[in-house]
Symmetry: C2
Subunit: 255 residues, 2 copies
């Protein structure tokens, strides 16, 4: 293996840690901003600060991609933008389908960030017949009945679910059956998918609850310990009154 190049392509396609992949978009964003300001190069320190991470971590992350920096100087902004874009697969077009056109679905359809990096809203799908044909963000909403065809015709491999939780799994199954292999789920439900299908979830409720936990902690720091009686309370119901059979969630969606 001496033929070598300065760096080893060994770890290339295979070994990029998941944590690193999750940070690449962050670096890319910071780099794009620098690129627009025509900044030619950046040091790991500067870029790390801009991306809100540790410089050592950034260098290690980049080391998984290869040796793209110049010691004593830093990284070439344009070059790095290209390399990361390529690594993330953003140099190609990704048609995306959004299923569930309610408040959230419509908001996402109008989201400018979609089109910015190779992502293109190829179709909007909803179960409400009344919505069929209605234009949202310039795209006519199509009915769920045609889901399979829509996915196939547009070569959609990434689906976004913004339906009420009760419909999420069913929609997910249909998307997968139609060929979708990556799903971004906004419905507060645990989706089960076959091997090979990636699911990422965005859950407002969970995020708020995590914040509440820390908030309570902060508030309680000066207050007395909790020794009082952690288990005296009602052995029975939840503090808040239950509402529908779907007490937990959602309904960003309309119909």
């Amino acid at each position: 293996m001496a033929t070598g190049r300065t760096h080893r392509p060994a770890t290339r396609s295979r070994g990029i840690p998941e944590a690193t992949v999750a940070r690449l978009p962050l670096y890319l964003r910071a780099l794009t901003a620098l690129s627009e300001r025509s900044v030619p190069t950046v040091s790991s320190e500067e870029l790390a600060t801009a991306a809100g991470v540790n410089s050592a971590k950034l260098r290690k992350d980049f080391s998984y991609l290869g040796s793209y920096g110049t010691r004593g100087v830093g990284y070439d902004v344009e070059y790095l933008v290209y390399q990361i874009s390529r690594e993330l697969g953003l140099t190609q077009d990704w048609p995306v389908a959004i299923v569930g056109i309610g408040n959230l679905g419509a908001a996402l359809a109008n989201y400018g960030g979609f089109a910015s990096r190779g992502f293109r809203v190829a179709a909007l799908i909803d179960a409400d017949p009344a919505m069929a044909g209605t234009p949202v963000a310039g795209i006519a909403v199509q009915h769920t009945d045609d889901l399979d065809r829509i996915i196939s015709d547009n070569g959609v491999s990434i689906g976004v679910i913004t339906t009420p939780p009760g419909a999420a799994q069913q929609v997910c199954d249909r998307l997968v059956a139609a060929g979708v292999t990556s799903i971004l789920n906004f419905a507060p439900t645990v989706l089960s998918v076959p091997e090979g299908v990636d699911v990422r979830k965005v859950d407002l409720s969970i995020e708020l609850q995590i914040l509440a936990f820390h908030e309570q902690r902060k508030a309680g720091e000066d207050a007395p310990a909790e020794g009082e009686d952690p288990e005296a309370p009602p052995m029975r119901a939840t503090p808040a009154s239950r509402k529908g059979p779907d007490g937990d969630m959602p309904a960003v969606m309309p119909a």
Copy 2:
């Protein structure tokens, strides 16, 4: 998923691991569903499956809260719902303010999940004077000029930012100055906050890019072997043409 807190050792005081805290809402959701079906008890195995996690992990998570299960039987659903709710601080009321009432902000305001667990939309704030007074989800939008007063008067400690990225940091600073100590950021920007303030982020663009990475990987498995010239491309300019001055982002927001 989303999220990223500003670095910090955290979790020092009460010892509950951050990873566990992040899963508690998931357990709570599953438990609530069981509760509504009047199921009295569940085994770690069943609950774990419902929450989409490993049973050993679930048991270990619960062990941080205390020994709330009964060997040979399982966990008392109602009791556990209460314990987790209490631990997460959901037994109290959390007034939340949403800043930036565009498509996304409005969608969140209408989000049913907000009210479900102690979270209450206390105020909607926007910088557009024309929106002041306009009711969204039954709440009149207020102008940014009154932000400080609004936060103080309502005792808001959790703020949600759904503004364009350019305004996010400024809004964040004002929220923090007004007393907010937890922020949920939907704007694609790295927010810098003082010690003691928690920030969690939800970034659609990043999630999609992560999915694209894996999608590309899957597609490339059977496709052509690469390895040839990882760096043949342009050393100078970016492959894609630059677009707007905000190439990266967002704009879910209107005005």
